[in-house]
């Protein structure tokens, strides 16, 4: 890396919403480097990126891009200057085809009519360039998995003229293989001189990729360093400066007993889930690993009755009765709880209060008499839950949508804790949330295990499964291809199992 003048220079960037979220942040980003932006949720990373990419205008400070004054008022102005952003939330239009999405904003046309042939060809080229040969360009994006959508979005951004690329949690929805592929692209881009601002909560990725890191804490610039000089432990310290987060990761303690709580027999829904059987014991934390699209989320949805299984059933608490739930309310009635993958779409009522969300699941059992809501009981319990989960908010009447991602997730988990279930299904419980919230949720999962609950955790983050689970089952192409205990698992074994179901080629199964 040369010590040339930085490509992007931020000076005293300040941003005020109701409160000040960025305090005079100054950072330089050099061409041909990967610059990681670190910080807990609410530290101001996303806001800073929104400013750089023209989605928001700062209330103070200035920017220089490539030596000239730079103050984009819209995203297209930023793009014209050569700055692309891939945000955490997907920005694809589900009803349009892959090709239409990839070429969006630069649709090839003649006399105002879309040149469809050209559109498909260019999109194909863009995807092929990044090894996405198996994604059909004519399929509506909404029919693809979330991991594939993320790859399309990134490929689409990379295909445009771009001198600075901003990636906000790009690997959150990706599996191991896809992440590898992404890293490979990023390294290529760096060699071509593109600057990359990279936001991730996965510190091992940062260590592996980044040349420089900048740490933000509560909207303030903490430090910018060469990535080689910092260990992951030091990064966590810099990001949190709270005593809680600097405490060392606790030793894993198993709470697994011999009592079988949930026995799953041959769950099937073609083609996504095929003949999956496993058992979870009281106090056991059963992790499920696998590539994106291997059927993990779909399996949880079958167990919970969100989708209906074609074959198979589950037995609870050693009883002979076999269940195949047709609606989630049946599953809940028999002691299941599920924290969904997408808290905004399926987990929370964003426009409603923390209180209302907290008691939604348990309202009928705990907070009513003859249909009449016990309002004081409801408030007390919501306050109690807020304290227990350390949810950061002004008050419990605040809409959940105004909280940070980590705190939203605490509410999404918390609603299942009021009236306790026997079996807890967690789908990506800590995706895209900050370190402190992540530890809080892991601690909570351990509390549930200690209380004898059976727990299933689906995660694309292997580290998370290593930290929290007694057992890791691996899914591949819809099947449960391996179940590993703590003593005999390794990343190599799990990765090999993850690819096992896809036959000799590593292409996704049809």
């Amino acid at each position: 890396m040369s010590a040339a003048t930085p490509l992007l220079r931020l000076r005293d960037i300040t941003m005020d919403y109701a409160v000040r979220v960025l305090h005079q942040v100054s950072v330089d980003v050099k061409a041909g480097t990967i610059h990681a932006l670190l910080g807990a949720n609410g530290a101001g990373k996303s806001t800073l990126c929104r400013i750089i990419s023209g989605l928001t205008q700062p209330t103070g400070g200035s920017m220089m891009f490539d030596g000239v004054e730079y103050a984009p008022r819209t995203k297209s102005e930023a793009e014209a200057a050569g700055i692309q952003i891939v945000q955490q939330e997907l920005n694809l239009i589900p009803t349009l085809t892959v090709a239409e999405n990839v070429m969006f904003g630069r649709t090839p046309h003649r006399l105002g009519f879309v040149n469809r042939h050209e559109q498909r060809q260019q999109a194909r080229r863009a995807l092929d360039r990044f090894g996405l040969k198996d994604i059909p360009v004519d399929q509506p994006v909404g029919e693809l998995g979330i991991g594939q959508q993320q790859m399309i979005e990134i490929a689409s951004a990379l295909d445009r003229e771009c001198r600075l690329l901003i990636l906000d949690e790009p690997t959150a929805a990706l599996s191991g293989g896809e992440t590898e592929r992404l890293f490979h692209w990023l390294e290529q881009l760096r060699e071509q001189g593109t600057a990359i601002i990279y936001i991730s909560h996965r510190l091992e990725e940062v260590v592996r990729l980044a040349d420089e890191i900048t740490v933000l804490c509560d909207g303030r610039h903490v430090t910018t360093k060469s990535a080689k000089d910092v260990t992951t432990d030091q990064m966590v310290d810099l990001m949190t400066n709270s005593t809680e987060a600097t405490s060392p990761v606790r030793e894993f303690q198993s709470h697994r007993t011999d009592r079988v709580v949930m026995k799953v027999n041959g769950m099937t829904r073609e083609p996504v889930v095929r003949d999956v059987s496993f058992t979870v014991h009281a106090g056991e934390r059963f992790g499920i690993a696998g590539l994106v699209g291997s059927g993990r989320t779909e399996l949880l949805r079958l167990l919970f009755g969100a989708d209906v299984a074609e074959q198979g059933n589950l037995q609870l608490n050693g009883e002979p009765r076999k269940f195949r739930f047709r609606h989630p309310w049946q599953a809940v009635k028999h002691g299941l709880a599920m924290v969904t993958e997408d808290r905004k779409e399926t987990g929370l009522l964003l426009a409603q209060s923390i209180r209302m969300n907290s008691t939604l699941v348990s309202l009928k059992q705990r907070f009513q008499r003859l249909g009449w809501i016990n309002r004081s009981g409801e408030r007390t319990e919501s306050e109690e839950l807020r304290r227990r989960l350390d949810t950061r908010c002004n008050h419990i009447e605040q809409p959940v949508g105004t909280l940070s991602g980590g705190n939203q997730q605490k509410v999404a988990v918390g609603k299942w804790l009021v009236e306790e279930a026997d079996v807890y299904l967690f789908d990506e419980p800590t995706r895209g949330i900050d370190v402190a919230a992540r530890r809080r949720i892991h601690a909570l999962i351990e509390e549930l295990a200690a209380a004898g609950k059976a727990i299933v955790i689906v995660s694309s983050d292997l580290e998370e499964l290593y930290e929290t689970c007694d057992t890791i089952g691996v899914m591949s192409a819809g099947r449960m291809v391996g179940v590993n205990r703590r003593d005999d698992w390794s990343t190599e074994i799990i990765m090999r199992q993850s690819f096992a179901g896809y036959g000799s080629s590593t292409e996704g199964a049809a």
Binding site: F304, H327, P328, T346, G347, L349, L350, Q352, L363, Q398
Partner: protein, 327 residues
């Protein structure tokens, strides 16, 4: 950020009035304007006429508020009212049965049609806009069929319902309407039923994934809307002294307008029965006031339409401001 709100009794009382301050202000403003422009607007007879004119719209708008809150819409209310009214005529005139039989018949028919609306839209997952549009046509057709397209004069047997009680200036119908408003507001804010309704309208999928079986609640809400059409049918029959299959054409739009003026969201998840009642009052005062100042029908329509759009515009701006503050 700011401290949690202190909850002393006085501030709680104040907080419970504040949400209505805006609507109350608009209402008073209208009354002042009309009083200034028409000498005899502010009189006991005007008040009586406004109050006795609104019960049917009020009752229908309460049902509409509930339906809108779950993210649905009920376009069939005007036709259901006419059908209920027609059934009353059939029961009392053709069958010669007493009012005590006609009222249950009216309520039953309304509820039944509402139940059909709910069952089809919820179970078959067809947008309620379409289902109730179909019901709008069908119920009107049945009304004509039942009455042979004739208005059936009933007379004094029903008139008392809509006539002011001596010495009280208000009618039994108005008292029932007030009762429905209060019951609706309590249902919405204090019961599990109301809570689920708001939740369903906010995010139906999240409600489903929270282990709540939403279908019975949604169906019940369409049934309630139908039942209230039956209630309004009785009110209108009494006001017209007759069962009229042509009654209440376009009433669904007036009811939606009242809800929307009251800040109910057409996207679901947000609404208040009390606010809707203010919406009804605003529409009624506007209509009566414009008549007093001698506005012609075209002018009345233009002004009423304008008021609806402005009310929604103000509400949208207020919401946007609140959202940006919450960020």
């Amino acid at each position: 950020m700011s401290n949690p709100p202190k909850t002393s009794r006085r501030s709680a009382l104040l907080a419970s009035v504040i949400p209505y301050a805006g609507m109350l202000g608009v209402l008073l403003l209208l009354i002042v304007i009309f009083s200034l422009s028409s000498r005899n607007f502010l009189s006991a007879s005007t008040v009586t006429s406004v109050l006795n004119q609104i019960p049917d719209l009020t009752v229908i708008a309460v049902g509409m508020t509930l339906v809108l809150i779950i993210g649905g819409i009920d376009l069939s209310v005007g036709s259901l009212l006419a059908l209920s009214s027609s059934i009353m005529g059939v029961v009392m005139i053709d069958q010669g049965l007493p009012l005590a039989a006609a009222i249950p018949a009216s309520l039953f028919v309304g509820s039944l049609c509402g139940l059909v609306n709910g069952l089809i839209s919820v179970k078959a997952r067809i947008p309620s806009f379409i289902v109730t549009l179909g019901m709008l046509e069908m119920a009107r057709g049945f009304a004509y069929l039942a009455t042979d397209s004739q208005t059936k004069y009933i007379g004094s047997k029903v008139e008392w319902i809509g006539t002011a009680i001596p010495g009280l200036a208000i009618s039994p119908a108005f008292l029932v309407a007030i009762g429905v408003v209060i019951a609706g507001q309590i249902l919405l804010t204090r019961t599990v039923f109301g809570r689920y309704a708001v939740a369903i309208g906010t995010n139906a999928e999240a409600v489903r994934m929270s282990g709540i079986n939403a279908a019975p609640y949604s169906i019940a809400i369409f049934t309630i809307s139908g039942l209230l059409c039956g209630v309004a049918g009785v009110m209108q029959t009494s006001r017209l002294s007759s069962a009229d299959p042509n009654a209440a054409v376009g009433l669904e739009l007036a009811a939606i307008a009242a809800c929307v003026i009251g800040g109910t969201s057409l996207m679901g998840g947000r609404g208040s029965v009390i606010h809707t009642f203010f919406g009804v009052l605003i529409i009624a005062v506007l209509q009566t006031g414009l008549a007093h100042v001698g506005a012609t029908d075209p002018i009345k329509r233009i002004i009423t339409g304008g008021v609806i759009v402005i009310a929604v515009l103000l509400d949208a701006l207020r919401q946007r401001k609140r959202n940006s503050r919450a960020q």
